[in-house]
């Protein structure tokens, strides 16, 4: 139990997706101009990561990993090179499915952040979640916790940046720094802050 909890914390804070691993920065920067849209993106990310990482774990273990076909008499079959295509297919299908379900049962939720869902298909952070899961050979419960934790970390970071940038709309910045430039520098400062979490993890 404590292991899972520490994995959750490290996925959310120490290995924060956008701030320390540079993952999912395109949407991170594009949709953080306002705290409201940032919150929508954060919730969508948490949901999609929490679903796709365990799902891809099942697919990888059941179909692709070396030795997965032993029961069918093919113990040497190693399909792991197909994992990239399989993962992206699962992610695209999940995102589509989530969008349809939300539209059908929770139209209000869909209206507020449904527009972000299709974007998440090509979000590097989501694919990276599945690739890390294979790379670090997590178990099933670990993959659930890892997916939720990294989604939450992304949400925290994007909402914070959204809040800061919302205030900055009224600041008098040099013309060349407006928009993207200052967003990078802010992200760098936040990344410095998050670097202190790594120290905490080491001193434990």
């Amino acid at each position: 139990m404590t292991d899972l909890w520490s994995l959750f914390l490290s996925a959310a804070f120490v290995d924060n997706m956008p701030l320390t691993l540079f993952l999912g920065l395109c949407t991170f920067l594009a949709l953080s101009k306002r705290p409201e849209s940032a919150l929508g993106l954060g919730i969508a990310m948490t949901g999609v990561l929490g679903v796709t990482v365990p799902l891809n774990w099942l697919i990888y273990r059941g179909l692709l990993a070396p030795g997965a076909w032993t029961w069918a008499g093919m113990p040497e079959l190693d399909l792991s090179y197909l994992s990239l295509i399989a993962f992206i297919g699962v992610i695209a299908a999940t995102v589509q499915l989530l969008e349809m379900l939300l539209d059908r049962f929770f139209p209000a939720v869909h209206a507020s952040f449904g527009v972000f869902l299709p974007l998440l298909t090509v979000q590097c952070a989501i694919l990276a979640g599945s690739l890390f899961m294979v790379d670090r050979s997590y178990g099933f419960s670990e993959s659930v916790v890892f997916g939720l934790g990294s989604g939450l970390g992304f949400a925290v970071a994007v909402v914070m940046l959204g809040a800061i940038r919302g205030r900055l709309a009224y600041a008098d910045l040099p013309a060349g720094l407006r928009g993207l430039g200052i967003a990078f520098i802010l992200t760098g400062l936040m990344s410095l802050g998050f670097a202190s979490f790594a120290q905490m993890a080491m001193s434990q």
């Binding site: 540079f22 990239l84 992206i88 695209a92 590097c124 013309a175 060349g176 430039g181 520098i185 670097a195």
Partner: protein, 221 residues
């Protein structure tokens, strides 16, 4: 016949005027993650340019046969197949660099740059202009990556491509490496500064003010 497409402009526009990283905000994730040294930055640039050009040509060839509703899936499958090929080649012949890049080669699949260019350009153009546009964007991306990689390796380790450019203080030289340059925050600061520099030079790229302060009404007595 439609107006001749200006190949030279298509090729050079993405270098500075329409740079994919600093203006279009495409493909930033990998641009920052792999730039701790020039060697990884170069490998990543070459891989991305290859994948981008090949996928643009392939998608442009079958552009009349892709149904609009499933085009994203088709494009992503083509890109993913090419990325798998590159990944396997890197693992076979450049094992060390492949380990340094870890999952970031796989992430070319979801690099917004690749999908952005195929979606915005290759889908509507013949194979040759599509290839030129993709190659130009690949070069623009590589330019930023190599600049960042060069600065970070030079000041972080005093090296260029592993060759000691500045003699280190430990070895009797004068240069003390800046450890921060190899960490995540410096990548953001450098790219932010680069964007600032480019936009101060090319003023037309600056973003419009979101909030215009009300003009102060002066009452003259």
């Amino acid at each position: 016949m439609a107006a001749r497409i200006d190949f030279w402009a298509t090729l050079t526009d993405p270098l500075l005027r329409q740079n994919p990283v600093t203006l279009q905000i495409l493909g930033i994730c990998s641009a920052l993650a792999v730039t701790t040294s020039l060697a990884t930055a170069l490998t990543m640039s070459v891989s991305l340019t290859l994948v981008l050009t090949l996928s643009a040509v392939l998608i442009s060839l079958i552009r009349r046969h892709i149904p609009d509703t499933i085009r994203l899936i088709v494009q992503i499958v083509i890109v993913a197949s090419l990325v798998i090929v590159i990944d396997q080649i890197l693992q076979a012949y450049f094992a060390e660099i492949s380990r340094a890049l870890s999952i970031y080669v796989g992430l070319i699949t979801t690099n917004c740059l690749v999908l952005g260019r195929t979606e915005a350009y290759a889908r509507h153009h013949a194979p040759v202009p599509a290839a030129v546009d993709a190659f130009g964007n690949g070069l623009g991306y590589s330019l930023i990556l190599l600049t960042l990689g060069g600065v970070r390796e030079l000041f972080g380790r005093g090296q260029l491509f592993g060759w000691q450019a500045f003699p280190l203080a430990d070895a009797g030289g004068w240069f003390t490496p800046l450890g921060l340059m190899l960490l995540a925050p410096s990548a953001f600061f450098l790219l932010g500064g680069l964007v600032w520099a480019i936009r101060s030079w090319r003023v037309e790229q600056t973003e419009a003010l979101e909030h215009v302060p009300p003009a102060r009404t002066m009452t003259v007595e």
